[in-house]
């Protein structure tokens, strides 16, 4: 697996929450060689399974790895003289989309521009205010009559943003939140393919995280794992963000600590990282993590859950930026963690014994 190439393919795939078909296909192709089963459920989750090699007299155990594959975007709500009005799907700061090229997914993909009236013709006093979404529209350069043929209310809209490798192993693009997480899953499964592991591994590319952790809610119920690790992006240290709000770039995955995460899971991840000298950092999250981990932890009888965050700058903009090395580190850390899972860890967590 080439981390940069897979991240490029995933970043450029179109998959607003609820319509994750493209990134799902990319993820499926990438995961298929390393997994035994791949399924898609009613909410669009991609659930893959790699079976462990279990000693005959030990109970079966499983771990779920979850990374969401949906991205934030826009949706057509109305027409206005040949221009499209729209709403947001997921947390879009509408200040960041002015002058942004987009694709409107109508009968055929229509390239367009998020625009407003030119500032030259507006009162200067208004230039200090952000433009509210009501004053933005999408111009697809098509006549008023034809636009009605080509698009409908409810068509979704994605950012048209080419993936851009930067200097020093960094890369920028749209939807790296959380396609970068999906890449860690693939990296982990590929590494596991060369290792021994006794637990079954569900690698799940989840749907609809950005609109309320919906895919994780049902896929955790479905797979009913003994333990789980969610991988999502965290606020990377950047210009304008305080150190206490962020994690460092290029310092490895950030292992979540707080009520959303089982202390033994976090501890074991840290021990594994120390033992194999994989760079990592800690991220303290005092309450709601806002990630799939939040939903997975309370599925069924409750699931010991951990979170690994990929440091990412400019979250929820079309120029999200990650360090490729962090992705590789997280993939490796998870594979090493899984390879060492055994019955004693299950017992330490107080897991019910499976039906042998």
């Amino acid at each position: 697996m080439d981390t940069m190439e897979l991240l490029r393919d995933l970043s450029q795939a179109t998959g607003v929450s609820g319509y994750e078909g493209e990134p799902r296909a990319v993820a499926r192709r990438a995961l298929a060689p390393f997994t035994d089963e791949q399924q898609v459920d009613a909410l669009g989750n991609l659930i893959t399974l790699k079976r462990g090699m279990r000693a005959p007299d030990t109970p079966p155990h499983s771990i779920m790895l979850a990374a969401h594959m949906d991205e934030i975007g826009l949706m057509v709500t109305d027409f206005d003289e040949g221009f499209l009005r729209f709403t947001t799907v997921g947390g879009v700061d509408t200040r960041t989309i002015l002058g942004q090229e987009v694709i409107v997914h109508g009968k055929r993909p229509l390239p367009g521009i998020v625009a407003s009236r030119p500032p030259h013709v507006l009162p200067e006093s208004e230039q200090e205010k952000a433009l509210p979404i009501e004053e933005l529209f999408i111009d697809v350069g098509v006549s008023e009559e034809r636009i009605q043929e080509l698009t409908r209310v409810g068509d979704f809209i994605t950012m048209r943003r080419e993936f851009l490798p930067l200097a020093k192993g960094y890369a920028s693009g749209k939807a790296l939140d959380n396609r970068a997480g999906v890449v860690t899953l693939v990296g982990c499964m590929e590494a596991l393919n060369r290792m021994q592991h006794s637990w079954d591994v569900y690698a799940v590319a989840t749907s609809q995280e950005e609109v309320g952790l919906r895919g994780a809610t049902v896929s955790a119920y479905d797979t009913a794992p003994d333990i789980a690790i969610a991988v999502d992006v965290g606020y990377g240290l950047q210009q304008g963000v305080k150190e206490k709000e962020a994690i460092s770039m290029d310092k490895g995955g950030a292992i979540g600590i707080g009520p959303n995460f089982h202390p033994l899971m976090a501890q074991r991840l840290i021990e594994t990282a120390e033992k194999y000298e994989v760079k990592y950092q800690r991220e303290i999250i005092a309450g709601r993590s806002g990630t799939d981990a939040w939903a997975i932890q309370v599925a069924r009888e409750g699931i010991p859950t951990a979170l690994i965050s990929i440091p990412l700058r400019y979250m929820h903009t079309s120029v999200e930026t990650v360090c490729i090395r962090d992705i590789d580190r997280i993939a490796r850390l998870m594979a090493l963690f899984i390879a060492e899972l055994d019955q004693s860890f299950a017992e330490a967590l107080g897991l019910p014994k499976g039906e042998g």
């Binding site: 459920d41 949706m75 409908r152 895919g215």
Partner: protein, 331 residues
């Protein structure tokens, strides 16, 4: 069908107090289904068995309506209250409410006519005509619904609780009209939708459907200076694409659109930026359920004068019937 709607909207049934409305619905449909039951939460679940190996389908319309709950009665017999569901104070002053025991009250406001600002919750009270706490016929914890009679305006109808009694009427009428279907259909009249789709959450867990569709009202953008929304009264039932709680399953959306187009039923596509329906809860049940929503366009939602178009209502029955009549392909 207007008579059915009139009876449904004029029946008492705020969230958590759906006994009267449930009784009415049960009576109307019980002879037409193989099986009918009330679950622990109070949802009414009617089952029509399929003739073939079609899908297990759940159709949900909520029976409950928004209302008020008494929190305190003062020495002079005035009742202070909290809200049950999404009630806005702008709709309240001078309005009348009805309790389960038929006690009627009017809503008053402190410093009335002295202030032009929107009343605060703490300034509002219910007056049931009592002279003191002692002779007040209601008690803390009693729940009131709004009073407003049904008006047939011809093409349009207005009443309280069109949300979602008109949805109940659509589901009932569909059920009564329904002939053999390959699909195993569960018609569910849910409780406590207005408090967070609670009834549907439990009902779906129990039914474990393959596919679920809510029938509920939606807002419109066709009144003066309304928030832009491409749904209008009278342009047919709306097929929901997204609201703040749910994204319609792509296969369900296709199924609904094809059913409408094949049967030549005018329809609209809906993106609702604020609000959600039972479909939100249904899609998240257990391992996930393919879900969608058939919406009846409605003006002035959550006021005592909710207006719908009769053509939209009939179109909704036609669409739901067309959807359930054949094989369902969600691929």
């Amino acid at each position: 069908m207007k008579d059915l709607i009139k009876t449904l909207v004029e029946t008492y049934g705020p969230s958590g107090n759906e006994e009267q409305i449930r009784g009415l619905i049960e009576e109307t449909i019980s002879d037409h289904v193989e099986e009918i039951q009330v679950d622990t939460m109070g949802n009414l679940i009617a089952h029509k068995e399929g003739t073939g190996d079609g899908k297990r389908v759940m159709i949900a319309a909520h029976m409950d309506e928004i209302g008020l709950v008494v929190t305190h009665i003062d020495d002079d017999g005035f009742a202070r209250f909290g809200r049950v569901g999404g009630v806005s104070p702008i709709t309240l002053v001078g309005n009348r409410v009805l309790f389960a025991d038929s006690t009627t009250g009017v809503i008053g406001c402190e410093k009335w006519l002295r202030s032009s600002k929107l009343p605060e919750w703490e300034e509002l009270f219910i007056d049931v005509g009592a002279t003191s706490q002692k002779d007040c016929p209601i008690d803390v914890g009693n729940i009131a619904g709004f009073v407003r009679s049904f008006v047939d305006m011809g093409k349009r109808m207005v009443a309280k609780s069109m949300d979602d009694r008109v949805g109940c009427a659509v589901v009932i009428q569909t059920l009564l009209n329904m002939e053999d279907s390959p699909n195993d259909v569960y018609f569910v009249f849910t409780v406590q939708e207005e408090l967070g789709t609670r009834g549907a959450t439990a009902a779906t867990f129990g039914i474990e459907p393959d596919v679920a569709v809510a029938v509920d009202v939606t807002s419109v953008g066709d009144t003066p200076e309304a928030h832009p929304m491409a749904v209008s009264l009278g342009d047919g039932p709306a097929i929901k694409v997204m609201d703040s709680g749910m994204l319609t399953h792509p296969g369900v959306k296709r199924w609904m659109i094809e059913a409408a187009e094949d049967a030549d039923i005018p329809y609209q596509l809906e993106v609702l930026e604020r609000g959600s329906t039972d479909a939100r809860a249904m899609q998240l049940s257990r391992i996930g359920v393919a879900a969608g929503c058939l919406s009846i366009p409605c003006r002035y939602v959550h006021t005592p004068s909710e207006m719908v178009d009769y053509g939209d209502v009939q179109g909704s029955v036609d669409l739901l019937s067309a959807m359930l009549g054949g094989e369902i392909d969600l691929s």
